[in-house]
Symmetry: C2
Subunit: 207 residues, 2 copies
Amino acid sequence: MERDDDLVREGDRPSESIVLITGFAVRYNVLRNGKRQITALHVPGDFVDLHGFLVKEMDHAVMTITPCTVGMVPHETLREISETHPHLTRLLGVSIAVDSAIHRQWLVSMGRRSAFEHTAHLFCELLLRLRVVGLTTDDSFQLPLTQAELGDTLGLSAVHVNRVVQELRKQGLITWYGETLVIKDGPRLQQIAEFDPTFLSLKTEPR
Amino acid sequence: MERDDDLVREGDRPSESIVLITGFAVRYNVLRNGKRQITALHVPGDFVDLHGFLVKEMDHAVMTITPCTVGMVPHETLREISETHPHLTRLLGVSIAVDSAIHRQWLVSMGRRSAFEHTAHLFCELLLRLRVVGLTTDDSFQLPLTQAELGDTLGLSAVHVNRVVQELRKQGLITWYGETLVIKDGPRLQQIAEFDPTFLSLKTEPR
DNA sequence: CGCCTTGTTGACACCAGTCAATTCACGTGG
DNA sequence: CCACGTGAATTGACTGGTGTCAACAAGGCG
C-alpha cells in the first residue's frame, strides 16, 4: 500500500482485521471544524484493527503514513481461534491491553504534562516500542511523521510542535534530521517525561 | 467499601479482578509534581480491573469516590473461563473494547476540543452509560464528583472547571445541584460536544 | 461554635494557538 | 544544469484560553 491510503474508514463495518507488517499507520478522528486527533500510532507488528472484530461500527479511521505491507485476518478466522485456541485468544487480549496502557499514558500526557514533556514522553515510547520489534539502531529510529502530523498526535499546533522540537534539540536531547530521530540523552529525556518503561511490559503467563 | 478507598495501587500485581456493583470509582495516575490525571470513570456494572489479568504490574491506581460494593473474580477463574467458555471470553473482550473506544474519545476531547466542549462531551457520555445500567431518571443522574475531581478527569484546573460549569448553566444546558446533574438540553449539548452515541454501541454477535 | 471541604470570584501570568511571511529541501521539467 | 513548484519547516507578532494565586462564601459535621 502507498502512503496516505485508508485502511479503515469511519463508519466501516470491517469483516477482517489488519496486521501491520512494515510501515507506519495512524488511527484518527476528524471533527467538524477540520481539526484532527490521532489516537494511535501503529508500528510494524501491531494488530491495527483488532477491536473492529468486537465493535459494530468503526467510529474512526486508520490510514497509512508510509508505504506499508499488511496482512489481513478474516474475522471468521478470529472467531474460530477464539473458540478453539484459548491461549491465542489470550495473546489477542494482551495486545488490546497494551494498546490500552498506551492510551492511558497518552491521556496523562495530554491532560497533565506540558507540551515539552508530552513530546519527550512520546519519543521515549516510540524508542521502546520500535526497539522491541528491532527497528532501532542504538538510540535512533525512523520517524516518518511531519511536524503537522506529530501535532495531531500530541494535540498541539504544528507551529508549537516546531518550537518544542527546537527546544529539545537545543537542550541536546534529540536530533531529528530527515526521517531519522536520534535520542541523544535517553536518561534525561525519560526523566523529563517521567517515562516509566514498565507500562509496556507484560506478564508472561503460563500457557 | 467506603469513599476514597484504594481498590488497586500502582505497582500491585493483583490476583483477582474487580466488578463494580454499586458506586463510582476512578482510575488515575499521579505525577511527581502532584498533578493527577484520572484516566477512567467507572460506573456500576463496569469490570474495573480486567486488564490486571493480562498485564504484569499495575502502572496506575484505582480508588472509590463513593461508598461502593464490589465483586471479586480470581484470575484463576478468569483463566478457566478463557479456556472453556469462548463466548464469555468474547464478552470480556468486548468490555475491553468499549473501554478502549471511550479512551479514544477522551483523547480526542483532550487534544482537540475546548474545555467547554470537552466537559459537554463527558456529560453526554455519562448520561448514556448510566442510562444503559438504569441509573438515570429522565435526563438526570447522580454525579458524585467534586469539581476538583472533574478537573483531574478533564485535564483542567478546578478553577476553570468552575468557569465552564457556570457557562453550561448560564446557557441552560445543565443543572447541577448537590450530586444531581440534569441535562436540560441534550440535543444541543450533543451538538456542542460533537457527541456520537454510536461509539458506545456494540456488535451483537451470534453465540 | 469553629473547622474543613467545596464552590465561587477576580486579577494576573503564561503556555500554546493563529496568522502570515519566509526559508528550506527536493523533485520535475525545460 | 538550472529555474521553478510544492510541501515542510521555521520565524515573528499577536491573541486568547487556561492556569495560578489568593481571598471569600457556603455548608456539613464533630
